[in-house]
């Protein structure tokens, strides 16, 4: 083992530090010494490369794991698989006698790569997240993309817009070509992301529980010899050090890290996907047990060691058998590079030929992409040893558990001091004019321009598309009325004021959004985007955010299952989100919520439907305009009174909305969030076909002492519903039973005006057609027609 070892033992810290940095490793001297302890000698270069990757924040969750397990509820009666594998799984509908249909969901960030190369970074993000779902054996039925970009009108405005455009292109190029529909996403512009955009991605899949594939070597390997097969793109150095890259501050010279950005290939992925499906189907037909996992951060070494260890086995690899791209690659690179579009299978020896034939002959992988294909690269062994050979030499040999165990830190946290003030309202301002500013704001205006870049129709399952309602809805099982609804949320403006509320409110809004289409919120995933956790204030933001998410999940719970939490089944932590200046992003926990719709034919768009319908507000606007679009745009301040999550109120409101769907009352439903009640009403009106109008009398809010501006622009979570006329008594009774507040807003008329009155006084009138023009063009005007990225430098 002397050849290619890195001297650590007995060397002074300064020398160790120097040699670590010479090799480009990110692990600390202390961590390197820990490696020596674990392997019992100086590690080989390959071993140290593996530890360097596996112990990156991205792979090891070394800063976050303890906080996550302290606060997040991961168990409920619908959970099949919680966090730990590539994706979480819940069951949502029976499939015959002893089986269930399951939803598979995964959620990740691809922030740093997207900042550097927006198109490729975002595309690779989609490519990575769908692999996490595919490798559970599932068919991917949708993706969602929560995006955060810098202020388009700020100092870096041009660059922020160009990054946004590139990211949207990247998502479109990959997702459209792969044939996975876009089910939604959200888009927030905020100066806090000027130097570090956020590109989070969610993928959802469908599988029967009996067909679930685990990312581990099956038990059968104790009795039959199992082989490890690597399939996909030839390994190169394109993503070498990617996991470590995701866990670094964005360097001053972004270009310095170019080696870490992977090259996505949706075409090869598509062919792989159909071939994988064939392999898994054949394994099922033949009753063969296989293990299947995608290659992500940490490459071959990570995937094979984790699969072996999870099954209670060891592995022996021969790097000489790995298909390589043209070029010369060291064993370290081959072991840990993050080359895209690869999977690893553990299959019994007598099934190997079938598998190779499907990939290499039926689907002609070597012809689809030069050097691609399926190759046996190693054996599963009963001894729990992880060994890699290359050129006849052993370049890595350790107990397998040593590699996969990981490390953990207790990071220091310190309460951040924040002082925020409420603005004084200026009574001379015109609500009419102010609202036009709000509705044209890039954070409020229609995202239709963006959504049209994405294929929302492929696979033919779409019921409600992005932009039509608060959540996207698909009919996943042909011939069944069961629907699935998805939403992603996370408002950075709340987290700035109070990171706990930032986390809690993200869950509340995501849950509210799926409820708005009649779905029972059934699981959430979280992508936790923060700055550098080594700073105690940042770690405090993270800690508070997770605490908020945990409380919200327990507080809202699983509707219909008394006492059970809304389970968190998957997620991702993204630290070190800060730019050149060292300024961290605002704390941004992003929540994806999946809901189950009993009958998708009851899920309606947000748009007003019929003349004569009654329009109600479910929930009460409170003096909670802190972080609101109104305060920021009109008073240029965030204010102090951000919404305070009230889980009982949220739960009762959500239950009421689901009950109303069940009763078949809902004609349109929209939650109140950014921009408040008046924005919600305008959004419901501008898409109405035929055009409909409404007059809201603020006297209906009689008891509340709020000023009209506050009533109209408060972002307290609630719902607007359009219900048939003549059922008011029943509605009152239902709301009383569920202990939710109800306000009558008016009824729909054919005259297309939105009026606000208070008693006999007219406060504001807008023409719906005019609102539509402004609303539809707010986002388009940012993006214009130019393509490509312009740097500010």
């Amino acid at each position: 083992m002397s050849k290619g070892t890195v001297s650590i033992k007995g060397k002074p810290d300064s020398e160790v530090k120097e040699s670590l940095s010479e090799y480009g490793f990110n692990i600390t001297v202390a961590e390197a010494r820990r490696v020596v302890e674990l392997v019992g000698r100086d590690p080989t270069l390959v071993e140290l490369t593996i530890f360097n990757t596996m112990w990156s924040e991205h792979c090891s969750y070394k800063s976050s794991a303890k906080v996550l397990s302290e606060f997040l509820p991961t168990e409920a009666s619908n959970v099949v698989l919680g966090p730990g594998e590539d994706a979480g799984v819940i069951r949502f509908a029976p499939a015959g006698k002893d089986d269930s249909y399951c939803l598979v969901i995964a959620h990740e960030s691809h922030n740093h790569p997207s900042q550097v190369l927006p198109v490729e970074g975002a595309a690779t993000g989609i490519g990575g997240i769908v692999r996490d779902v595919y490798c559970m054996g599932a068919d991917v039925v949708g993706v969602l993309d929560p995006l955060r970009f810098g202020d388009p009108n700020g100092e870096n405005g041009q660059e922020s817009i160009a990054i946004a455009r590139g990211v949207i292109d990247g998502i479109a190029q990959y997702g459209n070509a792969l044939g996975v529909p876009n089910l939604g996403g959200d888009l927030i512009f905020d100066g806090g992301y000027d130097e570090n955009c956020l590109v989070n991605v969610v993928a959802v899949g469908l599988i029967k529980e009996s067909r679930l594939i685990r990312s581990r070597v099956p038990d059968e390997a104790k009795r039959t010899p199992y082989k490890l097969i690597l399939v996909g793109k030839p390994t190169d150095d394109s993503g070498f050090g990617g996991a470590a890259f995701a866990s670094e501050d964005l360097a001053d010279e972004e270009e310095a890290d170019r080696g870490a950005v992977q090259v996505p290939d949706p075409f090869l992925k598509r062919v792989l996907t159909v071939a994988n499906r064939r392999v898994l189907d054949l394994a099922h037909e033949k009753g063969v047990k296989v293990g299947f996992k995608d290659l992500g951060a940490g490459g071959i070494a990570c995937v094979t060691s984790e699969m072996a260890d999870a099954g209670g086995f060891g592995a022996r690899l021969n790097l000489d058998r790995v298909n390589l791209a043209t070029g010369d690659y060291s064993p370290s690179v081959i072991s840990c590079s993050e080359t895209q579009e690869r999977y690893c299978l553990a299959v019994p020896e007598d099934f190997v030929d079938d598998v190779l034939a499907i990939y290499n002959e039926d689907y002609e992988l070597p012809h689809i992409y030069h050097g691609a294909g399926a190759f046996v690269i190693g054996d599963v062994i009963n001894e729990k040893i992880y060994r890699i050979e290359s050129g006849g030499e052993v370049v890595c040999e350790t107990p397998v558990g040593v590699i996969t165990t990981g490390i953990s830190y207790d990071r220091e946290k310190k309460t951040g001091k924040r002082i925020f003030n409420e603005p004084e309202l200026d009574p001379s301002r015109s609500i009419e004019e102010d609202f036009l500013k709000i509705i044209s704001s890039p954070n409020i205006a229609s995202r239709n321009y963006v959504f049209r870049h994405y294929d929302s129709e492929v696979q033919g399952r779409a019921v409600i598309r992005p932009g039509e309602a608060d959540a996207g809805v698909i009919a996943p099982i042909h011939g069944s009325k069961i629907g699935l609804a998805f939403s992603v949320d996370g408002n950075s403006y709340y987290g700035r004021v109070d990171p706990y509320q930032g986390g809690a409110l993200a869950v509340c809004e995501a849950a509210r959004n799926v409820a708005a289409v009649g779905a029972v919120p059934s699981t959430v995933t979280d992508c936790l985007n923060y700055g550098n956790p080594e700073y105690p204030e940042i770690f405090w933001e993270f800690y508070e955010g997770v605490r908020g998410i945990g409380d919200a999940c327990r507080g809202i719970g699983l509707i219909g299952k008394e006492g059970e939490p809304l389970p968190v089944v998957s997620g991702n932590v993204s630290f070190y989100n800060q730019g050149k200046s060292g300024k961290a992003i605002p704390p941004t926990p992003v929540i994806a919520c999946a809901g189950v719709v009993e009958d998708y034919s009851r899920s309606r768009s947000i748009f007003f439907k019929e003349e004569g319908s009654s329009v109600f507000l479910i929930g009460e606007p409170l003096d909670e305009l802190g972080g609101s679009e109104y305060y920021r745009l009109i008073y240029n301040t965030s204010g102090a009174n951000i919404p305070q999550a009230d889980f009982i109120r949220e739960r009762n409101q959500i239950k009421t909305i689901i009950d109303m769907h069940g009763l078949g009352w809902i004609r349109a439903c929209h939650d109140i969030s950014q921009g408040g009640l008046i924005t919600a009403l305008a959004e419901m009106a501008v898409g109405a076909n035929p055009a409909l109008g409404l007059t809201v009398n603020l006297d209906e809010f009689g008891g509340t002492a709020l000023e009209p501006e506050k009533l109209l622009f408060s972002e307290t979570g609630s719902f607007v519903v359009e219900l048939p006329g003549g059922i008011e008594r029943k509605v009152l009774a239902l709301c009383a039973r569920n202990r939710v507040k109800l306000f009558r807003l008016g009824y729909l008329v054919s005259r297309p005006k939105l009026n606000i009155i208070a008693g006999n006084e007219r406060l504001a009138t807008w023409d719906i057609a005019e609102l539509r023009d402004i609303y539809m063009n707010g986002c388009r005007s940012i993006f214009g027609k130019q393509e490509g990225r312009i740097s500010a430098r």
Partner: protein, 275 residues
């Protein structure tokens, strides 16, 4: 994957296409047997098929030009004979691009390239565009449309980056028009031909959304009928007469499974084949 296509509608899976499964599903919903034909399967199997559909997606990732690489595949030799025999061939979206790049459409000069499906021209963007549009049925020249009546207005989604029918040869357009080969045109919800975006979503000449060969057995269309084959697939706020139908199915899940505006393309084949 079946190994026998006799009496079936073969849906060809070129590497990179991604609408093969829902296309098979729509054909089956219309009442015909259908299966996925992997591009490198023995060509003779294709010869036995009842009809062939080239589905949507990104064959060879639209590299060089959408459809052109698949158009050069070996299986196209067989498909050429099949189409010339008058058997039904439908290309949807990427399939349409393949048919144009193979010279099956417009098909007056067989296998000669007389048209292109060029990059979309749109007023406020470039590249890919996905949305629901309306198309109008023109003439009754095409066997894939014999269940429609002239003037029918069909809501249907488009999703492509290269969908602009164009030719640099004026005579070709005249011939196509003379032969009534433009059988589908983009239109407003009320059936007016408006050549501006987004009614015409890609700047296509003559608002052409679908063009068939002179014999009417081969059709290349950019919109996706398989994504509009069930009522549930239609957006509830769509304009035109399908809105009432779709809204009427709200809270009635069984109605959601009823026929959507695009199913008749596949049902036309049943009528043609079975009578």
């Amino acid at each position: 994957m079946p190994d026998n296509f006799s009496g079936k509608v073969a849906v060809i899976q070129f590497p990179g296409v991604n609408c093969e499964s829902e296309t098979v599903r729509a054909v089956r919903a219309a009442g015909l047997e259908s299966g996925i034909f992997r591009w490198n399967m023995p060509p003779r199997l294709l010869g036995e098929a009842l009809a062939v559909i080239l589905p949507g997606g990104f064959s060879y990732q639209d590299r060089i030009r959408a459809g052109v690489v698949a158009a050069k595949d070996t299986i196209m030799d067989k498909l050429s004979d099949f189409a010339r025999d008058g058997k039904p061939v439908l290309g949807i979206c990427n399939g349409a691009q393949v048919l144009v790049e193979a010279g099956f459409i417009p098909g007056m000069h067989w296998e000669k390239i007389d048209l292109a499906l060029a990059p979309n021209v749109m007023s406020d963007r470039e590249g890919y565009y996905c949305n629901w549009v309306h198309i109008r049925v023109e003439g009754n020249n095409c066997l894939w449309m014999n269940k429609y009546k002239e003037g029918d207005i069909i809501p249907v989604p488009v999703a492509h980056a290269e969908g602009r029918f164009v030719t640099n040869d004026k005579d070709i357009i005249n011939d196509i028009r003379k032969n009534n080969q433009i059988v589908l045109r983009y239109c407003t919800e009320s059936g007016d031909l408006d050549s501006s975006f987004p009614v015409n979503p890609n700047g296509s000449v003559e608002n052409a959304a679908g063009i068939c060969n002179p014999q009417g057995n081969v059709l290349a269309m950019m919109p996706h009928p398989e994504r509009a084959s069930w009522l549930r697939q239609v957006p509830e706020d769509i304009s035109g007469k399908w809105k009432a139908k779709r809204r009427n199915a709200c809270c009635r899940p069984e109605k959601m499974e009823e026929e959507g505006p695009g199913l008749a393309f596949f049902a036309s084949l049943v009528k043609e084949m079975v009578g």
